[in-house]
């Protein structure tokens, strides 16, 4: 059953790229990924950093010596730079690590996340 929680204003999210709030004892954030909103627990499973304060960026790939900018958007932790798939929560370089992710949406200028 969906339980939507208000975690901040859409204006704040558009300005900062994220909003973060405490929901049911957990810090949960919403980040803008392309044109969509993703809910992410604000705790990096590596060292506990505030993952939602990181950057959403295009993942680089390429053969040796090449720098190919892909369309895949990743959430990069602001502490140690580990990259996560914001849709599945999987750490792209350490698949054993996963962060909880949630559905999110904007309604009447407010950002809601489904826990």
């Amino acid at each position: 059953m969906s339980t939507w929680h208000d975690v901040g204003s859409l204006a704040d999210l558009e300005r900062d790229g994220h909003v973060v709030a405490r929901v049911e004892g957990r810090e949960v954030g919403v980040v803008a990924v392309g044109g969509e909103l993703r809910g992410v627990r604000n705790r990096c499973p590596h060292h506990g950093g505030p993952l939602c304060l990181g950057t959403v960026d295009q993942r680089l790939t390429g053969r040796p010596g090449g720098y190919d900018v892909t369309d895949e958007l990743v959430l990069r932790c602001p502490w140690h730079g580990w990259e996560f798939d914001p849709t599945t929560g999987t750490c792209l370089d350490e698949p054993n690590l996963r962060v909880a992710v949630y559905s999110a949406k904007a309604v009447d200028g407010r950002v809601l996340v489904d826990l």
Partner: protein, 337 residues
Amino acid sequence: METGQRDWFRGQPSLGLPGYSWSHPSSWYRQDLAADGRPPGSDVESVQSELLDPSGTSVGVLNADDAVLVSLMPSPYRAAALARAHNDWIRERWLERDPRLRGAIVCPAQHPEEAAREIRRVGEDPRFVQVLLCGGSERPYGEPRYLPIFEAAAELGLPVAIHSGGEGMGIAAPPGGAGAVTFYIEWHTLGSACSTMAHLVSLLVHGTFERLPALKVLLIEGGIAWLPGILWRLDTNWRALRADTPWLERKPSEVAREHVRFSTQPLEHTDGHDELLWEMLEAAGAPDVLCFASDYPHWDFDDPAFMLKRLPEAWRERVLHENAAALYGERLGLVAA
């Protein structure tokens, strides 16, 4: 620094500190710290609110980042002037403003006599708790040219901290030991660890601690998982090659345990094998040789709360408190338990 001299330096297009040839793909600093266009951690209030207060830190030692690179400037005279200015700035702008803060004395390593003079000048202030040298260097620090620095430190009861960084910059030797590296990831993997290993081995084989029995050295941010391996290797060579350095009467690893301490940061990520790391480090003298360090506000810092949970419970008090209290003594203002 005199006012006229200060104004002259301020009028220069740059201070002349060497910079990195390698580029970090995102940031040298934690990206969750607000900075108003300046590097994070640029003022006392930031350090208080972002590190000291939330972690409950009772005493924090400030280790200069860019300032320590004066030792890699081609001009030893300019380096000496900037080191003096930095130390005075730390005293006036930082140590005066929070009683929890302690300073590390920056000195021009490429001009050891001047460095020793600066250590004796600044070391009179008990809030300066160590001498700070840069991992990047022209030669490893056991070389006799550097002895005046270590003599001055030992005379004042100050540990000498060698902080990784600067390898391959300015007049420093290339990082890694095989020529200039290509990427920042190479520099960060090899530069800091290899210079730390080189200084450790150099200080031990030159007999620095036999010359200066009171001297303590702290090796910062060079990693530690390699420590048992390099000490085992050195001990093996000592047994076979004693005539090369006949003044070494004790196993180098024993001398290292007595005289050398290591910062925890960056504690290697072990892919779930922390138990192996603890066991290896115990063979090299842990936990007594380890002191907690955060590396705030850099991108690869270790959070005190996270480290508290990661370390074996029996190690925590020693690594987070007792070892540093014993290393720094009265200047830290703490009593070893």
